[in-house]
Amino acid sequence: MTGMTRERDVREAYAAHSGELYGFAVRSLGDAGLAEEAVQETFLRAWKAGERFDPEIGSLRTWLFAILRNVVIDLGRARASRPRVAEGGVEPSVEPLEQALLAWQVEEAMRRIGEDHRRVLLETHFRARPYSEVAAELGVPEGTIKSRVYYGLKALRVALEEMGYEG
């Protein structure tokens, strides 16, 4: 795809990227309805500005996320200026948006790596459990836990790169 000026281009872009865009929108807005609104507005803006998309400069995915980022900021501002109506609604994320995007990418990458690797990283790193304890629970040698941490981080890096991470 060289631009996003035709309705067919929008359909293709939606098929390829809507899941991620929606996932990030839900995470940053904390509301499924607002997230739908954000994704809809993102594709509308992208279509209107379709001629400005240049694949030489960056990927379509990166461009769409940049638009979504602005839409989320606009929706956040609009919501901040409205009286609160949603009782029991999830509080919106208070993280800066760039950090929220990176956090969402790491979480999404964690979901994409193999179950064995994810489990070991969750238990040892996020829950700070000793390797020996996790090894005993899973019935594998401690060395296996160590190698799963290693391969888990490598898989995580690949998953992040697939999502545009260039660090």
């Binding site: 499924a32 509308l44 190698s147 941490v149 290693y150």
Partner: protein, 236 residues
């Protein structure tokens, strides 16, 4: 160093990058790293990922990936199709507005304001096609009328009129009273269209008229019997 040792060190680099190793093991790996460029390069990559992990919320990781509603794509396509058709109409309208007189431009502005301000009313009746039968050979005039809260929107198509001809358009109600709908002048060729508006409600409009080139053409709106009331094009 044996190849197996190197492999063992390497497999420990993840735990090393995350700071999970006991001090003695950490010191041993640090010593290995001093002399192993391959492991140092590997470590740099792993440390880059390890540094990002604190950003993630483990509770969110364990939640299933959310998916957009199945109909969201269709809704977006429908919205874009609607915008696309609206923009096409706007482009045509802008093209013609360059040449319409001040009165028509004012009417158009008033129409837009009315669209924004007034509650929508009278929009349920369908658009009406109007064809002018009594026109000179080679001239073809027809129009589509759309009901709006502000009155009637008139999409007019004229073919065969000499370039530069001023056309004044109006609607007439049953009593024969005339309601101006603005004017336009063709500058390019003899085949053009214009978007106009009149304050008369479409349900009360009996005829559409065009005054052009010193002649007035009138066509009935809802039935042939309404011809007496008349709407006209004035070709001057």
């Amino acid at each position: 160093m044996r190849a197996d040792d190197h492999r063992d060190w390497k497999l420990s680099l993840g735990a090393y990058a995350l700071g999970d190793l006991p001090a003695d093991e950490r010191a041993a790996i640090s010593a290995h790293l001093e002399g192993c460029a391959e492991c140092r390069a590997e470590l740099r990559e792993l440390e880059g990922v390890a540094a990002l992990l604190p950003l993630a919320d483990p509770a969110r990781i364990e939640q299933p990936t959310v998916r957009p509603p199945a109909d969201l794509g269709a809704r977006i396509e429908a919205q874009i199709a609607a915008e696309s058709s609206r923009e096409g109409r706007e482009r045509r309208r802008r093209r013609v507005r360059l040449w319409v007189g001040g009165a028509a431009a004012t009417a158009a502005v008033a129409a837009i304001l009315a669209l924004v301000v007034l509650p929508v009313g009278g929009e349920n009746s369908p658009a009406q096609q109007v064809r002018f039968a009594s026109v000179p050979n080679g001239v073809s005039i027809h129009a589509t009328l759309e009901p709006h809260a502000f009155g009637t929107e008139i999409h007019m198509y004229v073919k065969g009129v000499r370039s530069g001809t001023l056309c004044r358009v109006f609607l007439k109600d049953d009593s024969g009273r005339t309601y101006p709908a603005g004017s336009f002048r063709y500058r390019w060729g003899d085949d053009s269209e214009a978007e106009l508006s009149s304050a008369l409600d479409l349900s009360q409009a009996a005829a559409l008229g065009v005054h052009a080139g010193g002649r007035t053409f009138v066509a009935p709106i809802s039935s042939a019997t309404a011809l007496a009331g008349g709407a006209g094009i004035d070709l001057t």
